[in-house]
Symmetry: D2
Subunit: 171 residues, 4 copies
């Protein structure tokens, strides 16, 4: 029962960034529900809380975080009638990469979940770059231990390595 | 060297569905490149070839394929100046699920790749439903053996099982 | 001075539906600002208040309002850093059509304005259909007299007629 | 009969830029057709031919054309099954502004039409700037005389003036 799962994890939920979103009719598709491709857009909106740590004046163009990978698991149909909540947290902190977890809730149900791997990147040296200490500390406030339900989402052990080796491919 | 990799895999490439897309200026973001969230949209456009197998009159609303999971790996920045090609193929055929592979090419480089797991679903019984034989045969024409580079994308062994157990969660 | 204009029109503003929207980084373009094509999407989100009058259970698929025409005037660049407010009101009520006004405000400035003409449509007879009395009354609460600044937006005198003659073209 | 209208205007049609677009399932909405807000996106894609006149290397970020106004008239439902063609032409050339006409065709029917007013802008002086002579000549190749059907779309006589006075409002 999702309601219960939600309640008993209050501490866990408290450590998450929460973003309320009102689904738009333009985000539905001919199947009558929210189109699948909207969920990555909403998850990206949830990640803007992290951008704000990097740019207090919210100039996102100066945020040198590259998205290396996204994953989304669709759990249930998402409808247009009620607001959704994107919950965002840190799954893992690498040297220069961050593994971000996302959950999408609607009407007390978790309707989707996902992961984004972002890499801190130095556009001048064209290499991944260590996360600044202040930001690392801020991110750690939102680092949540894995629960059974998301264990399978933690990805392959070499994903961060792979992400951190991304640099040479980017112009 | 992506050019070489492309050339030597002609047979492999021939078995893929190919979709040419002209990037739109509205698909860029303030970083100056195509926004990450556009790639799942383009991959979904690549999958429409599969929908056509299910609905010869292209009434996609009657195609009972549910997207259970998507994954995207971003390899390089995607720009707005030249067309891209989405290459789509079958990675694995389950009883009721299909694991679809996607590659995104621009200027002879593979700039992104991804996976989508779709489940054939019976909306009346609210259960996953075996892929019809005719469609299974058609899909097999596009089934490509794994290469080293996408092996890591094949996902966890239980992903199909998980996808096929999706049914009870869908209203 | 937009601030002043805003303040002195409190009564006018009070009669508008207001929709707060947090711009998404994915809604910017390579020019560094919100892409023009996002504004019609936001204005459509502002119109959902009107759909709710037609469908109390918010089943927008049962709302038989056809968009016949939209107009948008872009007044200033829209950035991603601060929330915007869409203000929506009724400009004119025809027999079966509604002319809707939209304003987009950011940081106390009106950055865009627009119009949408919607027609109440009977899908069975394939003709425009008079607005139900109860809805007409509700809409009248939001009917604002024209001000100089939007007079030029009121469109040609025959626009409603044209909109109401739309029906025969729709399958 | 749209087919006939199409045929007899061959010369007119020849002078238009034509952009083929395959509608995406993600561009439909719960009403079962292409969402209204997609049409401005497609029309903007049609305008990229004009950007190319300004930037031969297609660096659209260096194209100093500001969209001042858009209008769209929706004529018929647009479906997802067949390709559409965006036809783009010049309605009027001002000193620094261009009034662009758009038509959207599907299955031999004109399903939407629209207008965009763009202003050539000097970001340094923050003022509208005369269209360069070479570009003016190129645009004139696509200047079409008004026909009865689009006369009503030519807008108010002061629209160009208004558009050209836009400059002081832009930061």
């Amino acid at each position: 029962m999702p309601k219960f799962e939600h309640d008993k994890n209050t501490k866990r939920t408290d450590a998450m960034w929460k973003t309320q979103i009102t689904p738009r009719f333009s985000e539905t598709d001919a199947k009558g529900h929210i189109n699948n491709n909207v969920v990555p857009v909403w998850f990206a909106a949830g990640r803007e809380a992290i951008f704000r740590l990097f740019s207090p004046d919210m100039d996102f163009t100066r945020v040198d975080l590259i998205v290396a990978r996204i994953e989304v698991d669709f759990k249930a149909e998402i409808h247009c009638r009620t607001d959704v909540e994107v919950r965002t947290f840190i799954r893992k902190l690498g040297n220069s990469s961050v593994q971000i977890g996302h959950e999408l809730w609607q009407d007390q149900h978790k309707v989707a979940e996902g992961t984004a791997i972002m890499v801190h990147f130095d556009y001048q040296t064209k290499q991944s770059s260590p996360l600044p200490d202040g930001i690392r500390s801020a991110l750690q406030q939102h680092l949540l231990e894995s629960t059974e339900s998301n264990a399978q989402q933690q990805g392959h052990p070499d994903q961060d390595i792979k992400a951190e080796g991304l640099s040479h491919q980017l112009s």
